[in-house]
Symmetry: C2
Subunit: 364 residues, 2 copies
């Protein structure tokens, strides 16, 4: 395929930008967006950066009926030296294509998509907030747009990238959350779409999420859909437990999202020679470790918060208070290191960061 050019149409008036300390998450969008169409036999075409604007979509567009859609989430950080950098964005493009495959969506050119994202962020670079902990959230997504209400894979799609400046997740430093184990509802199951970042997984999660929120918990911890026994992941984070000196995270099994923060945490721990293992772990095993006093730390990992220490875990009528409800040493060290690399305070020994002004090829 010949490399496409990206048509750029700049907006005439720029929106007012919010103050860094007024920022929340995902409600405000920047001046521009990237859009590209897919149709047969053209393939992906019409790549353009245009003013942020509503979409004109037919009510019969498939996405409204059969949820054939995928998305990604990553961030642009303003570093100490003023450059704007992305954290392992090539991994998001890889995952997007894996999601595409599961959802019968034609693959994108990963390198080209990353180039488009960099160019879009560069055009809206003034939207990247300045304060430590803030960032510009990048949301690439693909929706099916064929105007046909038969159940089948669409022949038309739109790939869109929108940008949203987001506030610091921890306003007063990293802080533990309370998580509840979900034993009624299920997010997904082996053979389902759990490994893919597709809307339906999140739609399926809302009910359980709403119920735990009412009882004061932040998110649910999902168990496997088959035996409701093995730990999978948190609502929008992967999960780690430090048990008797060893860090354990559930092994990817087809129903867990392969988090990019997760793999970065594993690489860091290995780099530090801290024992880390990916394996199946049941909620009973975790509880037994807790009873023996061996559950030393628990934390979630994800793009939004990087690391969320888990201070309390509720499982039925059992309440596990982990590390006295405080942030553990490893949680803190991992958090400080990843955010240190992201904001340019620390060296980047793994070459995780990509400057938006350089057109680095996709690294595998």
């Amino acid at each position: 395929m010949e490399e496409q050019t990206i048509r750029v149409q700049r907006c005439e008036t720029k929106k007012e930008k919010p103050q860094d300390d007024q920022l929340s998450f995902g409600k405000i969008f920047t001046d521009h967006m990237f859009v590209m169409d897919y149709s047969e036999p053209l393939g992906w075409h019409n790549a353009s950066i245009v003013p942020y604007q509503p979409l004109q979509i037919e009510p019969s567009a498939m996405v409204f009926h059969y949820a054939q859609s995928v998305f990604e989430g990553l961030k642009a950080y303003r570093t100490d030296n003023g450059s704007i950098e992305l954290f392992r964005p090539e991994k998001n493009m890889e995952r997007l294509n894996r999601s595409n495959d599961r959802l019968c969506i034609p693959p994108i050119d990963e390198e080209f998509a990353l180039k488009a994202i960099k160019q879009l962020v560069s055009i809206d670079r003034d939207w990247v907030p300045h304060t430590e902990g803030t960032s510009l959230y990048i949301r690439p997504f693909i929706i099916s747009t064929e105007t046909y209400i038969g159940v089948s894979a669409s022949t038309r799609y739109k790939f869109i990238v929108i940008l949203s400046p987001v506030g610091a997740y921890y306003k007063e430093g990293i802080n533990p959350v309370k998580i509840a184990v979900e034993d009624e509802y299920v997010r997904t199951v082996k053979g389902g779409t759990g490994e893919a970042k597709t809307g339906g997984n999140y739609a399926a999660s809302l009910k359980a999420q709403e119920l735990v929120a009412q009882t004061g918990y932040t998110q649910v911890l999902w168990l496997d859909g088959v035996e409701k026994k093995y730990i999978e992941e948190v609502g929008s984070m992967n999960v780690f437990f430090k048990i008797n000196g060893e860090v354990i995270t559930p092994k990817l099994n087809g129903s867990i999202l392969s988090g990019i923060t997760r793999s970065s945490v594993i690489e860091l721990l290995q780099h530090w020679d801290i024992p880390v293992v990916e394996k199946r772990i049941s909620i009973e095993e975790l509880y037994e470790a807790y009873q023996r006093g061996e559950l030393e730390e628990a934390f979630g990992s994800g793009t939004a918060a990087v690391i969320s220490p888990i201070g309390e875990l509720k499982w039925g009528d059992k309440q596990l208070i982990i590390n006295d409800g405080k942030t553990g040493d490893i949680s803190k060290k991992v958090y400080d290191t990843i955010t240190g690399i992201q904001y340019g305070h620390m060296e980047d020994p793994f070459n995780w960061m990509q400057n938006i002004e350089t057109e680095s090829p996709v690294k595998h």
Copy 2:
């Protein structure tokens, strides 16, 4: 809640209508559509029938990201005496609200929604085709429209109804299909969203559907997501087996869609004193019955085809030819009766049909 009025804005020029024998499914839409908005604290409001037109939706609308959406499917039939009738539409409104509940979407007023559907069909009544077997497909659906990319239930929605004239499913009389048992992919699981008519279930099904289509089969037969052992349903139909004189259909278990055709088939069989039972049945049991020569008939039930006899069932390397690949007596009798009632050739002892011109209250 006070009853809303429905604002009507008619289109200026009408589209050309296709010939009855040119009709397919779900690609052509009529002149008007119904739209109603939800926001807080207003609730559902702005009920209007407007010219069929594209939606203006922000790229950050939740439906594109988290697939919080539900839908229904039913048909309007032109009967022998010229009236236009709906088949048990109150059941679709009930099911829509059950789907809403699972997906954290605020309930609709079932009676009002049905009234709106009738008025819309009445305005576009010339679009209801005339030929036996044709009908006007009605697609009510609800999408989440809040412009926020955090994972949570939306605070804004649109309820939309669009209409599509559809051709006869069987152009040359009722005809058996070939179905393949799916043992790798899973549609949904207990605790998931299988019972709800939500987009994600269909997105999850595309991959398996695409793979079987390549080998010449029409749809997949889903097994349960836990043990991959018990029969659930076909891609867009419930399923029935006649084994040794008794008709068996999988018991609703939380992951099977509660089909309106399914419950009508059960009621009819009971009415005729034909033994019918809802129970869990494994694919092995079915195969054993087949080997003993006791699997006499198999058929799917759904709004699209009413009854689809299953002439061949593939399970791994086993090929079950049912009733010599021909339509069975019960399949035929059920099909003739339901379609007879729908097109007004036969009496309607259960009061299933509702004339679009009468504002009958929702029957429970």
